[in-house]
């Protein structure tokens, strides 16, 4: 018999990123109306087309209703009780990292994301976003030598308006869904990446999102454009302090891959998940979508979701170009009272397109973990293929694991395969490992890591090791 408490202890590691940085911030007052949007736009000195984009999105958002189809159930969000802009106070614009408030650098240092020159992660360029604004972007010059543009989206608005105007909202239109419309109206910052033709980005790019204030929402927007025959690997990490209140995070990520281009987007999401009684935590409503516009283009999403009180996230691929490829590898772990409704959408539009979905869900505590995915074969997707696999692992008899795959095909000459299974940490396997002298907790974490292997293999090196550790920590105390 597995010792219940022991397994429960394996998941109960306190959230180590829960500290608050005491820094003077500039906040606007709570609430959302046209005035607030104009104010945000004005603060960011935006051109008129962007203000129009925001106002248009706001109008659409006002007419929309918050979706309730997800298997989540959370207390109603009061959208007038949120601060839509919060930025650490800095002297004007900083030209180098030395001018960034040391407290901010210290924060990112504590999170394991060193921004200062001497401590920088080797070969990973980082864009650090703190509440509503981007603090610093490293390795910009080196990247620029290759023609790669990596900067905050506010900077891109000023310096590369033609790209922003052309691509912003082209993958996720403002009216796409409730949270995307909200984001389009109030987005504050985020990262912008442009990889020119024939360039293989010399280093991994990364953005790190940090929510610091308890009453402000974070609405960032990421836009990645990969021109013909280029490639890039992008990593995203996120943390937040522990508050008793729920903080809203509604992000939009847009990826565009042209002919033969490839984008790999990896996320380790570790927002604060609330305490064991479900108090506090981030409400994470994210719209991520990639457009494989060009022939033989490829977009690959890999994600490890361990945080947030509520996760509502479906990174998707629109496979438009002939022979384009979409991939989705995901591990979603929920514990205590966390709720996650996550999955993907693979929309096959072009001929000979291929997609692979591998989703692993681990539910512990009294959490609720749902996979929701759509595979659609359009009538022109001749010769296309999809393979989906969704496995769930249940830890304890209080958690729930649900699978809702939507499969729609209009093309006879295409194949769709879906399979799903559930399992638990088997006593036999635990007994075997323990009889070989492996500690109980290590045995559990080995089995969880084995369960997630297919996904971890897809993560970039830095992330794979981190993800493995993160899962072990998160699961501490939950197997029983």
């Amino acid at each position: 018999m597995i010792n219940e408490n022991l397994v429960n202890n394996v998941v109960a590691e306190p959230y180590k990123y829960g500290f608050v940085t005491d820094i003077e911030t500039e906040k606007i007052s709570k609430g959302l109306d046209e005035g607030v949007i104009r104010l945000i736009s004005q603060k960011k000195e935006e051109p008129k087309y962007l203000l129009d984009f925001r106002l248009n999105a706001f109008k659409k958002w006002q007419k929309m209703q918050e979706p309730d189809w997800a298997n989540l159930g959370y207390k109603k969000i009061d959208y007038q009780d949120i601060i839509y802009y919060s930025a650490p106070k800095q002297k004007e614009k900083v030209s180098s990292l030395d001018e960034v408030d040391p407290k901010l650098l210290e924060t990112f240092d504590k999170l394991g994301i060193p921004l200062t020159e001497q401590k920088r992660l080797t070969n990973v360029a980082v864009d650090a976003v703190f509440d509503s604004v981007s603090i610093a972007t490293t390795y910009k010059e080196q990247l620029a030598e290759h023609g790669v543009i990596f900067c905050s989206i506010s900077e891109a608005v000023k310096e590369h308006p033609e790209l922003i105007e052309k691509y912003l909202g082209s993958v996720v239109p403002a009216s796409d869904n409730y949270f995307a419309a909200l984001n389009s109206a109030v987005f504050s910052d985020g990262s912008f990446v442009y990889i020119p033709k024939d360039v293989k980005c010399p280093m991994d790019l990364s953005s790190y999102f940090r929510i610091n204030s308890g009453d402000s929402g974070q609405f960032e927007r990421t836009l990645i454009i990969a021109e013909e025959s280029s490639s890039v690997s992008y990593l995203e990490g996120c943390t937040a302090p522990m508050f008793d209140t729920n903080t809203l995070h509604a992000a939009v990520v847009e990826l565009i891959a042209l002919d033969n281009a490839s984008i790999k987007y990896s996320t380790v999401q570790n927002w604060y998940a609330g305490n064991e009684n479900g108090v506090g935590g981030i409400f994470n409503f994210v719209t991520k979508r990639g457009k494989c516009l060009g022939k033989k283009s490829k977009i690959s999403w890999s994600q490890v979701e361990t945080g947030s009180a509520i996760t509502w996230k479906y990174p998707s691929c629109l496979l438009i170009g002939e022979e384009s490829v979409g991939e989705f590898y995901s591990v979603a772990l929920t514990n205590n009272l966390q709720k996650a409704d996550t999955g993907t959408k693979m929309i096959h539009i072009g001929a000979k397109t291929k997609s692979t979905i591998v989703s692993k869900g681990i539910s512990a505590g009294q959490s609720n973990n749902s996979y929701r995915g759509l595979v659609k074969m359009g009538s022109k997707a001749n010769g296309s293929r999809n393979y989906s696999q969704c496995d769930s692992m249940l830890i304890g008899d209080q958690a729930s694991a649900n699978t809702f795959p939507y499969i729609n095909s209009q093309q006879p000459n295409s194949e769709v395969e879906h399979e799903a299974s559930t399992c638990r940490i088997s006593e036999d396997q635990l007994f075997y490992l323990q009889s070989r002298g492996i500690e109980f907790e290590e045995a559990v974490s080995m089995m969880v890591s084995g369960f997630c292997r297919d996904v971890f293999n897809q993560l970039p090196m830095e992330f794979a090791a981190e993800a493995d550790k993160l899962l072990a920590l998160k699961l501490e105390g939950s197997v029983g």
Binding site: W69, M377, S379, S392, L394, I395, G396, D397, Q398, A399, S400, A401, N402, T403, F404, P405, Y406, I407, N408, S409, Q410, Q411, P412, N413, S414, E415, V416, E417, H418, E419, A420, S421, T422, R424
Partner: protein, 405 residues
């Protein structure tokens, strides 16, 4: 006249019997006459076709066609819902007895009152309209029962509504085949309720065959007690709009359910199966296979959910949805779902959508078969698995030929 007018304009009592249950159903429908389109199981329903299904005059009489040759079975007892007088048969080892109105109400009351309007819409509509004559309730007990064939049909240019209640007594083993036939331009609403008492076993077949522009709303509600076996083999074809709802509830677990179903759609038909299997106790077993075939401009839907709450430890459930898409103007939607809380369970599901296997076709053609022959042979094997699981049916080859032609 629109069929809902009979309910909303309170004319229904003129046509049918009046009971508390029926009043309950009618009042529910008066409040919400049509299922909401936001509801997941009604989301894909073709609104035009659903309105066409309801746009008929209502009649309590139906035209009962002759039994087709492929269904002739000399040993079977044949029963027509709405056209059988006094069904009380008793032999040494078995007994078939008609249930009284009150007994029927007591049995179905819980089901009708427990679930929400959308999930139960077909049943609510059915009972609001079924007249006393068209509600057949029988209690079956004993062993070595002869096979039963229960016929149900609709009449051209009319909407017919029929209800069947089968109470399967303890230790009873029964083989039952339900044959539903739709006449040209007609609609049929059929709700079947089967109650399996302890240690009983039912092999159940449902053959629903339509005709030009016929529609069917077929709802099957199964309640299984402990140590019961329920096997279903079903096939549904040639309906302009067909909706088969299967709701199985293993109320104490410890029961076995096997479902093998198939739906065939041609022209611009919409044919859907919506199944929900709920395990409310430990050691439940489910083996479900749903096949569909979509041709021309048709739309085929499968929505299957398996619900395993905390009490249902050691459940072993599997569900497979296999779909053949034969035309590039046809459409298939499939959604096998799992909702699991109990941790010590084996649950899996799978879904595939493809066309006929090219390698197999090539192999057969290299052996001298024409493309048409090879395709037909492959289709035959696709059908065969389902037809084999339909009980009572003796003329399987003739039936298969009928389907393929």
């Amino acid at each position: 006249m629109h069929i809902l007018d009979y309910i909303t304009k309170e004319k229904v009592n003129l046509l049918t019997r009046s009971s508390k249950i029926q009043d309950f159903c009618t009042s529910k429908l008066r409040a919400h006459p049509l299922p909401k389109k936001q509801n997941e199981t009604w989301r894909l329903a073709n609104k035009k076709k659903l309105s066409a299904l309801l746009a008929y005059e209502f009649d309590i009489k139906s035209s009962d066609p002759d039994i087709p040759p492929y269904l002739s079975n000399k040993k079977a007892i044949n029963i027509w819902i709405g056209n059988t007088n006094q069904l009380n048969l008793k032999e040494k080892n078995w007994e078939i007895k008609e249930l009284k109105s009150q007994e029927i109400d007591d049995l179905i009351e819980e089901k009708l009152k427990s679930s929400n309007t959308e999930e139960n819409w077909s049943n609510l509509l059915n009972l609001s309209l079924s007249s006393e004559k068209n509600i057949l309730g029988i209690k079956i007990s004993g062993d070595n029962l002869p096979p039963l064939q229960i016929f149900c049909s609709s009449k051209s240019n009319y909407f017919n509504s029929k209800t069947l209640i089968l109470f399967i007594d303890k230790n009873t083993k029964a083989n039952i085949l339900q044959v539903n036939s739709g006449a040209k331009n007609s609609s049929l609403s059929l709700s079947t309720y089967i109650f399996l008492e302890e240690k009983s076993k039912v092999n159940h077949g449902v053959i629903s065959s339509g005709n030009d522009k016929s529609n069917i709303l077929n709802s099957l509600n199964i309640k299984q007690n402990a140590n019961t076996d329920y096997n279903l083999g079903s096939i549904q074809f040639q309906y302009d709009f067909a909706r088969f709802e299967i709701d199985v509830n293993q109320i104490e677990g410890n029961a076995k359910t096997k479902i093998k179903g198939m739906q065939v759609s041609n022209n611009d038909e919409q044919n859907g199966t919506f199944s929900k299997v709920e395990f409310n106790g430990p050691n439940g077993y489910l083996d479900q296979l749903n096949k569909s075939l979509a041709n021309d401009k048709s739309h085929s839907i499968f929505d299957g959910s398996i619900i395993v709450p905390k009490t249902a430890q050691k459940t072993d459930a599997s569900q497979l949805s296999r779909n053949l898409l034969l035309s590039n103007t046809a459409k298939i939607d499939t959604k096998p779902q799992l909702e699991i809380i109990a941790d010590d369970v084996k649950c899996k599901h799978g879904a595939t959508i493809s066309e006929l296997n090219k390698d197999e076709l090539f192999y057969m053609r290299s052996r001298g078969l024409t493309f048409a022959e090879a395709s037909k042979l492959q289709l035959k094997s696709y059908y065969q698995e389902i037809i084999d699981s339909i009980p009572v049916l003796e003329q399987r080859i003739e039936f298969l030929d009928h389907l393929l032609n």
